[in-house]
């Protein structure tokens, strides 16, 4: 099997699987009544999934290298960004503030090291 076909098989199969995952419960619960327990659980989906995406990107400096300390510029920057997001409720300010904090923390870290 040529390499070109390998790429297209992966693209189309994963694309289809992703679409079916996205459609799954939207299609199901359009016809079936949602159990109350599930309805209660769904309130927590945004908070938990976004946390599960953000935290590893911040506390791991390399694969399987946990850096839970103030010398990790990404952790410092994320805390600053979280404070900005909480006080200002602005995505732009959060991203700009977080990046500036990251650059400052990297610069300070380089100076100290």
């Amino acid at each position: 099997m040529s390499s070109a076909w390998t790429w297209w098989i992966v693209i189309l199969v994963v694309g289809a699987l992703n679409y079916l995952s996205r459609l799954s419960f939207i299609a199901l619960f359009a016809h079936v009544e949602m159990p109350p327990l599930v309805a209660r659980a769904l309130r927590f989906v945004p908070s938990t999934m976004l946390t599960a995406i953000v935290v590893p990107a911040v506390v791991f400096t390399a694969p399987a290298t946990l850096a839970f300390s103030y010398t990790n510029p990404k952790l410092v920057a994320a805390l600053v960004a979280a404070l900005i997001a909480w006080r200002l409720r602005s995505a732009t300010a959060t991203m700009v503030g977080g990046m500036v904090a990251l650059w400052v923390a990297q610069w300070v870290g380089r100076g100290a090291g």
């Binding site: 070109a4 390998t6 790429w7 297209w8 098989i9 992966v10 693209i11 189309l12 994963v14 694309g15 289809a16 699987l17 992703n18 679409y19 995952s21 996205r22 459609l23 799954s24 419960f25 939207i26 299609a27 619960f29 359009a30 949602m34 599930v38 209660r40 769904l42 927590f44 989906v45 945004p46 908070s47 938990t48 999934m49 976004l50 946390t51 599960a52 995406i53 953000v54 935290v55 590893p56 990107a57 506390v59 791991f60 399987a64 946990l66 990404k74 920057a77 994320a78 960004a81 979280a82 997001a85 909480w86 409720r89 602005s90 995505a91 732009t92 959060t94 991203m95 990046m99 650059w103």
Partner: protein, 262 residues
């Protein structure tokens, strides 16, 4: 004439009653009755700042596809059909490393399991819409579009308007994603790695996360999820993501039940 009368009757009905109406009658309505231009444009407008955070992510995906030896059409196929940064990066890394097709597909599928949760959370809001709308909006269900859209659906009493909002934000996201992946494919290596621009990606998710932490139960849920995702990091195929989500949800529900009992 009868159609016009039905339309006038439909127009005069208060929008709030949409929630209680049986879905059949709504699907008999023409498409333009559901589409709301102001809400579509509001979705486009409000998606623009979070999109700034997605641009570097798209660049990274494009660079990944290019360095893994994909053609530009394959790179475009990745971004257009998979439409998921995490899956695209994994697929290119695994294929470049010579992993078997089945392993690559399975890994990408497991990382996409979070879409099941997004789908379930969206389901009650899309229930009353025609199937065509449900099928189209499902395709646009990404992390960012979900986080922004679900907030709108919960805040707005009118699912029809919120659906147009979601369509607007999702469409803009899809279009921008294709462009940023293409730019990454052709010119992504121009940006120096020392700028750490890819850190904008978690920052963008953080900006979406903070407003969802509205009460004690959601904060406990997020805390449990954050601890779990680090503790379970060694799990294969990034299963830690979906496991942490489920653990966080369980913690949130327990916290909520306790708060109610008090």
């Amino acid at each position: 004439m009868r159609r016009q009368l039905a339309l006038i009757r439909a127009c005069s009905r208060p929008t709030g009653s949409l929630l209680t109406e049986p879905p059949l009658r709504l699907s008999a309505r023409p498409l333009f009755r559901i589409f709301s231009r102001p809400d579509f444009l509001a979705g486009v407008r409000e998606m623009t700042p979070p999109l700034l955070g997605l641009l570097p992510f798209g660049l990274v995906c494009g660079v990944g596809a290019q360095s893994a030896g994909a053609t530009v059409w394959q790179s475009l196929g990745l971004s257009a059909f998979m439409f998921s940064g995490a899956a695209q990066i994994l697929a290119t890394q695994l294929l470049a490393a010579g992993a078997p097709v089945a392993v690559t597909i399975l890994t990408c599928f497991v990382v996409g399991l979070r879409f099941l949760m997004y789908s379930a959370a969206m389901a009650p809001h899309l229930k009353a819409l025609p199937p065509r709308w449900r099928h189209a909006l499902a395709f646009l269900l990404t992390d960012q579009a979900f986080a922004a859209g679900i907030r709108r659906f919960r805040a707005s009493g009118d699912n029809r308007n919120a659906a147009s909002y979601f369509l607007g934000s999702g469409f803009l996201l899809w279009a921008t994603w294709q462009c940023s992946c293409l730019v990454g494919y052709w010119a992504g290596n121009i940006i120096p790695a020392a700028w750490s621009l890819d850190f904008v990606v978690p920052l963008c998710f953080l900006a979406l996360l903070v407003p969802t932490l509205e009460d004690r139960s959601t904060r406990i849920a997020a805390l449990a999820s954050g601890v779990a995702v680090v503790a379970l990091d060694a799990l294969p195929m990034r299963l830690s993501l979906i496991c942490a989500g489920l653990i966080g949800i369980a913690a949130g529900m327990i916290a909520e039940a306790r708060a109610r009992a008090r």
